[in-house]
Amino acid sequence: MIAADNWIRRLAVLAAAVALVGCASSVKLDEPAPVEDRTGKVAGAGGAGAGAGTAPQSQVTTVDLAKDAASQQLAKVIYFDYDSFVIKDEFRSVVDQYAKLLNADRKKRLLIEGHTDERGGREYNLALGQKRAESVQKALALLGVTAAQMESVSFGKERPAAAGSDEAAWAKNRRAELIQR
């Protein structure tokens, strides 16, 4: 149960990375700038494609449904700088996409979870994570999303996306996760 939950979370992060890094066209990112999570796996899936004419008759092309589904979804994670709750330009388009989605259907709900890296106190980090979540919420509100559609919460440093005590891990943990409900 716990393991499954964690696995789903990791998938979500991976999916976000997929969306941001690999699938600029499908989510129309203005700036498909890579986020911190640049795993080799992202580029590997999808197969070589059915090459015209030259494909051997025994070729099998893999269809990865997990990846396929992920590619149709919006990015789920917005990353932040240390001690900052400012939404960086590279994530503006993600916010725009969610605004469109939520404005198109007032019944849609969004939970915004703020997270921090491991440095510093638990309660202060909880407040900092809350500030990150609320900063995303404010950006969405400016684009017309109603308060009733959104709730901002924080996990502070309690639920890191990446283990480790280096900048690479910390960068993945300073984030807001966007969860549609």
Binding site: A3, N6, R119, G121, E123, Q130, V153, S154, F155
Partner: protein, 415 residues
């Protein structure tokens, strides 16, 4: 009395701390604690618990005490003086007809050759450790003039294999019992002033919610579950209200709640982060953390809300304030470069002193006698707990053998 019965039986499974002491007090009283008569017929080695308690305080040195004497004997104090003992404790453990044990002892001043009195504690088998700690408290108070805290309890959170557990142990880290276990994080436990309840933040519902739980019965109630995050519970000294941090109106702000919950009253109104409230012992003020000045610092305001004044000025990150029981000393975590260190401040002079020699400190909490602090830190890749005398001289590491441990909070006198 179920809990008492389990306390003894469960001991080997939960005695999960290894304790390492470093440093010594300025003066140490040499004391001999003889084996208590018939303690080998009880489930606990009472005299050894007393010796360990006294040595860990940094204020005592154990002198070997051969032979069997008890509180009814009149010892040859000049002999004990020759052995190097300034004080001598003798006692017994007697099984009573109703299954309880009577722990009796007498304390002698070997230097002056006087009787320093004694006590008797008839207890359930599960409370034998408690009786031993009460013996230690008596000895400590008679010989140092300060109240002992050996019979108090500590609550903390352990994390192992993605399971979070709120535990309650004796002040020496032994005799641990589980108050709450959850697959989701638990943070910020806080003892009610009477020691009967713990408030804490649990993420069990997918977000931060403040709960209170009766320690003895396990009965719990939701105190704050508003929109957004609910956290940082702090009891008022009379136990009737709690200050909490809520984000229900946007931003993390401090509110006051009745002990039964209900509608909160807002105490701070800033556009900054205001969190980690803690009441002063007289109940008149609340210390808290705010980044209204651009970086997180400790502030003080009236308990009913109102104008706040800044308390910490040195450094760009001062958090997790806690106040000594006499109201004179503030302890908090201060960042210096990349190091987070437990620091104390004499509130009258504003003089700050670093008391830790570790670099990832969190959650300082005073013992009820104000002589010791417990805090969480990190060493060799593990989360562990540390106690220190307030002057930083004597430290004990409580290293769990099975889990990462954090969020320690020292309970009040009484249980």
């Amino acid at each position: 009395m179920l809990a008492a019965g389990l306390g003894g039986a469960a001991l080997p499974a939960w005695a999960q701390f290894r304790v390492e002491i470093s440093g010594v007090g300025a003066t140490q009283v040499p004391i001999a604690v003889a084996a208590f008569r018939d303690e080998d017929k009880s489930p606990q080695k009472v005299a050894q618990i007393v010796r360990d308690d006294l040595e860990r305080s940094g204020l005592f040195r154990s002198i070997e005490a051969p032979g069997v004497l008890d509180e009814t004997d009149r010892p040859e104090l000049t002999d004990w003086r020759r052995r190097g003992a300034d004080a001598l404790a003798l006692g017994s453990v007697t099984r009573l007809a109703d299954g309880r044990f009577d722990v009796r002892f007498k304390l002698w001043d070997a230097v002056r050759g006087t009787d320093l009195g004694g006590q008797s504690f008839p207890v359930q088998p599960g409370d034998l450790r408690l009786a031993a700690h009460r013996v230690s408290d008596y000895i400590y108070e008679r010989l140092t003039g300060d109240k002992g805290v050996f019979s108090t309890r500590i609550a903390y959170v352990s994390k192992a294999a993605n399971r979070f557990t709120l535990r309650v142990t004796d002040a020496d880290g032994e005799g641990g019992q589980i108050a709450l276990t959850s697959p989701e994080p638990i943070i910020s436990p806080a003892w009610s002033p009477d020691g009967r309840e713990l408030a804490y933040v649990s993420f069990e519902s997918g977000k931060a919610v403040v709960w209170a739980q009766e320690v003895a019965t396990g009965q719990r109630r939701m105190l704050a579950n508003f929109r957004g995050s609910n956290s940082a519970p702090a009891w008022s000294p009379d136990g009737q209200r709690l200050a909490v941090t809520l984000s229900r109106d946007g931003g993390s702000q401090i509110y006051l709640l009745d002990r039964q919950g209900g509608e909160p009253r807002r105490l701070t109104s800033s556009s900054a982060i205001d969190t980690e409230p803690v009441f002063t012992t007289d109940g008149r003020s609340i210390y808290f953390v705010s980044d209204r000045g651009g970086s997180p610092q400790v502030y003080r305001m009236p308990a009913a809300g109102g104008a706040a004044e800044r308390v910490t000025f040195s450094g760009s990150y001062n958090i997790s304030p806690t106040i000594s029981p006499d109201g004179r000393t503030l302890a908090y975590v201060s960042r210096n470069g990349s190091a987070f260190k437990v620091t104390t401040m004499d509130l009258a002079s504003g003089q700050a002193t670093t008391v830790s020699d570790t670099v990832a400190d969190e959650s300082p909490s005073f013992a009820p006698n104000g002589r010791l602090l417990i805090y969480a830190t990190r060493a060799q890749g593990r989360d562990l707990l540390m106690t220190t005398t307030v002057d930083g001289r004597v430290k004990a590491r409580l290293i769990s053998t099975s889990a990462d441990v954090r969020e320690p909070v020292w309970g009040p006198y009484g249980r």
